[in-house]
C-alpha cells in the first residue's frame, strides 16, 4: 500500500495542515517574548532593588510603597485624573456635536470633514510646538490681543502652575476631537432612516428624535470613543514633553513622564518599573473587559 508517491502526498497534506500554524508561530513567539515576556520582566523588576541597571535583589512591595509616597507621583496621578476626564468628556462632546451638525446635509461636508480630522495625522511633537507658542503670553494669543488694543487680556495658563495642565487638555482635544467626530459620524450614517421617518410622522420633534432614537443607537460609538480616548490619555507622553516638558516645575507631570524620568534620568529603575506596572494595570482594567466582550460577541 505505502508506495513512495503515497508517502510524498501524505507529507504534503500534513505540511499543508501545519503550514497555517507554522506561519502564525513567529508572530506568536515574538508576541510572547516582546510583549508578555517583557511585561513579566518589568513586573519582576518592580519588586527588586534596581537602580541605574536592573539588579535582582528582592525587596517585595517596597517600590510600590515608596512610589505612592513620592510627591511627584501623586501630582502625576492627580494630573492624569484631571487630564483624562476633561479630555474624554470634551472630545466626546465636540466630536458628537460636530458629527450631528455635519450630518444635516451640509454643503461642503467634503471640505469640512478633512479639516476637522487632519490634526490626527500630526505628531504630538508638532502639535506641542504649535500650541506651545500659540499659548506663550509673550508672543502668542495674549500678545496679539494686546496689539489689537485689548490691553487687559491675559492668558498665561502655560506659565501658571495651577493652570498649565489645562493647556495640555486644550492641545490634546485639538488633536483628537476630529477622530471622535469621525467615529460618531460613521455611527450616525448607520442609523435606519425609516425609523426616524416613522417617528416624525408621529409628530416627534428633532430633539426627541435625537434623545430617544439616535443617541441610544450610538452606544457602541460612545463605548469605543471612551476606550480609545482613555487609553490614549494614560499613554500621553509626547505632548507633555513638547508642550510644557512637564513644567512649570513638575506641575504637568503625568505617569508616563514620571516613569521615564525615574527610570532613565534619576536612576530609580525599581520605582520606574512599579509606575509602569500601575499604568499597565489601569489600561488593562479598561481594555481587557472591552476586548473580551468584543471577541465573544463575534463568535
Amino acid at each position: 500500500m505505502a508506495t513512495t508517491t503515497d508517502t510524498g502526498a501524505d507529507f504534503r497534506t500534513r505540511l499543508q495542515e501545519w503550514l497555517p500554524k507554522l506561519v502564525l508561530s513567529p508572530s506568536l513567539a515574538i508576541m510572547l517574548v516582546f510583549v508578555y515576556g517583557f511585561i513579566a520582566f518589568t513586573i519582576y523588576l518592580s519588586f527588586t532593588d534596581s537602580r541605574m541597571l536592573p539588579s535582582f535583589g528582592w525587596v517585595g512591595w517596597d517600590n510600590y510603597d515608596r512610589l505612592f509616597r513620592v510627591r511627584e507621583w501623586n501630582v502625576a496621578l492627580t494630573n492624569l485624573a484631571i487630564f483624562a476626564s476633561l479630555y474624554i468628556v470634551i472630545c466626546t462632546l465636540i466630536g458628537l456635536t460636530l458629527a450631528i451638525l455635519l450630518d444635516q446635509k451640509i454643503r461642503g461636508e467634503g471640505v469640512l470633514r478633512p479639516i476637522f480630522l487632519y490634526p490626527m495625522a500630526l505628531s504630538f511633537i508638532v502639535t506641542g510646538t504649535a500650541w506651545k507658542w500659540f499659548l506663550d503670553p509673550a508672543i502668542g494669543l495674549e500678545n496679539t490681543m494686546h496689539l489689537w488694543g485689548w490691553e487687559s487680556f491675559t492668558f498665561n495658563w502655560i506659565k501658571d502652575r495651577e493652570m498649565a495642565i489645562y493647556t495640555i487638555v486644550i492641545a490634546a482635544v485639538w488633536q483628537s476631537s476630529g477622530f471622535v467626530m469621525a467615529m460618531f459620524l460613521a455611527g450616525l450614517r448607520g442609523i435606519d432612516n425609516e425609523i426616524l421617518k416613522a417617528a416624525q410622522m408621529d409628530g416627534a420633534s428633532n430633539f426627541q428624535l435625537y434623545r430617544r432614537i439616535i443617541l441610544p443607537q450610538l452606544r457602541p460609538a460612545f463605548l469605543s470613543a471612551f476606550v480609545i480616548l482613555s487609553h490614549l490619555a494614560i499613554k500621553s507622553y509626547d505632548l507633555v514633553i513638547a508642550l510644557t516638558g512637564g513644567g512649570p516645575g513638575n506641575a504637568t507631570a503625568l505617569p508616563a513622564t514620571f516613569m521615564y524620568s525615574y527610570t532613565f534620568t534619576r536612576n530609580q529603575m525599581g520605582i520606574g518599573a512599579a509606575s509602569a506596572v500601575i499604568m499597565l494595570m489601569t489600561i488593562a482594567a479598561i481594555m481587557v473587559p472591552y476586548l473580551y466582550a468584543e471577541l465573544r460577541e463575534k463568535k
Binding site: L32, V35, P54, W131
Partner: protein, 293 residues
Amino acid sequence: MAAASTETAIRSSNVTRVFIYLVLLLFALFYLLPFGIMLVNSLKPLSEITGGNMIALPRDWTIAPWLSAWSTAQIGVEPTGLRPYFINSIVMAVPAVVLSTVVGALNGYVLTKWHFRGATIIFGLLLFSCFIPFQIVLIPMARILGLLDIAGTTTGLILVHFVYGIGFTTLYFRNYYAAFPTELVRAAQIDGAGFFQIFWRIMLPSSGPIIAVSFIWQFTNIWNDFLFGASFASGGGAPMTVALNNLVNSSTGVREYNVHFAGAIMAAAPTLLVYIVAGRYFVRGLMAGSVKG
C-alpha cells in the same frame, strides 16, 4: 449605496441651518488656526515674530528659516539641520511598515481562513498588545537591543516598530479577510491549491484597500513616534520627532521661532501628505482600529 440612503431624515429650519454653518465654520477655524499661523510665521524674519502680530502676514517674505531648519540649524551639538534626521525617519519607517504589513496580512489570512483551536485567544493576545502602555516594555527592550548590539541604531528602531506594529496590522487584515467569502478559499483548496497559492492568487489580489490602510496607519504611527525614538536612538541616529523636539526645546541661544515652525512643518509634511492624498483610507484605518469585529 445611494447617497440618499445614508443621509439623515432629520429636517431643520433655515435659521437653524445658518447657525449650524456658523458653528461648523468656527470649529474649522479652531482646527486650522494653530497650524496655519505656524505656516505663515515660518515665512517671516524673526524680528517680525518677536516684535509683531502673529496673525499678520509677513512684510518681508523669506524662506531663510526653511533653509536653516533643513540644513544648518543646531540639533543637539551639531549644526546639521533636520535633513539627516528626516532621512533617518524614512530609513526607519519604510522597512518597518513593509515588514509589519506582510506579517499582518499572513496572520489575518491564517486567523480567518484556517480555523484552529485557540485562534481567538491568540488574536486576543495580539490585540491586547496594541494597547499596552509602552513604558512597560522600555526597560527590557533597552536590554535586548544592547544584547543584540543594535542599541542606538536605526536597525534597532526598525525592530521595535516592527514588533509593536504586528498587533495592529493583524487586526486590520483579520477584520478585512473575515468578510472575504470563505467558499472561494475552500473551492480553491478542493482544486488542489496550497496555502501560499491561495494567499497569493485569491486573497492578495483583492487586498488593495486594506494594504493601503495598513501602510498609511503604520507609516503615520511610526513616523510620529517619539517615545521609542527618544529611548532607543542616540545622537545622529535619532528620528525626526526627537530631532524636532531637540531643536525646539534646546535652551541655548536665541529662540528662532521661525526656524522651529519650519522644522515642525517638515516633520508634519510626510504624514500630512499621506492624509491629503489618501484620506479615505486614513479614515478607514481609524475605524478599523477602533471598532473591532
